[in-house]
Symmetry: C2
Subunit: 216 residues, 2 copies
DNA sequence: TACTTCTGATGACGCTTGTCGTCAAATAAC
DNA sequence: GTTATTTGACGACAAGCGTCATCAGAAGTA
């Protein structure tokens, strides 16, 4: 009875790490392994065994933090996007505050495409998360919309009066994100053939075109 | 020896069908089953057994036409896009020939989004084909580029002089396709909440904005 | 030093998969 | 009517999967 009742919350230090530190390190190790494998061989081809081998840990520690590979995928995706979003916002804010100009947009795009020069990140964020499960779909939707809202916030503040209704505004934002992300995707699938500046320029032009067009 | 050497090219009629007719019907049945399953439960969750059950045929006839489920996916994807492309072109051509106007674009978009109101087609074309394999990736790339070139051909003929270089033109086309397809994808994932006209309008505005913007 | 906890290696289980073989019934050809 | 082909139902097989249990050794704790 004394052995069965252990709930392993004892939390001893081991190898110079506290229980919390060990858990955090294991988690991060699996996150790295996930990004590596999801971003190369792909999510559907990645197994728990492969993740453990890549991480140099055993499955017990995988299941301690994640329920399954889909859970890990969600975590990797979320963290990657968080990082990118932070970088993009930093680039925009570093440009100086209001009013928002085309220069802000350009630097934001620059930061965005820079981040996706990491092919593993790019593959996970644009290819691997799609069509996995309703849960991941929901996550994807909300992230795309988040990006769209950021873009619209910037764009609107470049224009004196915004002519579109709410629904059409929402879709326009999503379309813009789609333009940028499709560029990134094709860039990846094309082995980053074009220079980054061309991507930035083409998408910048698209955005400027929109925010200068009269309602009809 | 007489049984082993049979190469089953005899081709008898059976059930009122010639060998070629039977093969064609079986193929089409599996294509339908593929669209149904890939478009609902998804490609990675679809097995040969499920396809056979859905098709009402046994695996022998599956392997006679397709090497594996990936092969079927490629076929379903190709056929779906062929159909849509035909419909879009028909809508544009029905509008009357040169010069290309915004009306042509609008009707093309209308046809495009109409086709993707079939959620199975939409799911296969936008979600399920991504991140499957290098072969499917290649197929996807070439199809996207094909659409992009069509769009650029229309757009260019709306402008007196096209200011962009080759590489930037290519990426701009891909970005436009991305805008449209991301709209379609979100439309699908959102259970077709918005009216189709809003999708057409938002994307039409984006395209017009681009083709009216000065080089800088 | 004695005891407990943590770790990694290994193997086992139940399940699903792709794929193939067998066999009897249906159909066509001679 | 006899023979050959086509079909569907069914089962078998190896392989790979997620998951769990066991066990010996390493590393703390008392």
């Amino acid at each position: 009875m004394n052995k069965i009742e252990k709930n392993s919350q004892s939390g001893r230090t081991y190898g110079g790490e506290s229980a919390a530190e060990r858990l955090a390190r294991q988690r991060q190790t699996f996150m790295d392994a996930g990004l590596e494998l999801f971003g190369t061989v792909g999510y559907r081809a990645t197994t728990v065994r492969m993740l453990c081998k890549e991480a140099g840990l055993i499955d017990r520690y995988f299941y301690k933090t994640f329920t399954d590979t889909e859970d890990l995928l969600a975590a990797v995706y979320t963290e990657s996007l968080d990082q990118i979003q932070t970088q993009v916002l930093a680039a925009i804010n570093a440009t100086g505050s209001e009013p928002i100009t085309a220069k802000h947009i350009e630097l934001g795009l620059e930061a965005f495409f820079s981040a996706f020069e990491n092919s593993r990140v790019a593959r996970v964020c644009w290819l691997e998360v799609l069509g996995v499960s309703p849960r991941i779909d929901t996550l994807y939707i909300s992230r795309i919309q988040e990006f769209a809202e950021l873009l619209l916030r910037l764009g609107k503040s470049m224009m004196s009066n915004w002519p579109l209704g709410e629904e059409e505004t929402r879709i326009t934002g999503i379309a813009l994100v789609g333009a940028i992300s499709q560029s990134a995707m094709q860039w990846l699938l094309d082995d980053y053939r074009s220079p980054r500046a061309t991507l930035v320029s083409a998408n910048g032009r698209l955005i400027r075109g929109l925010f200068n067009t009269p309602s009809h």
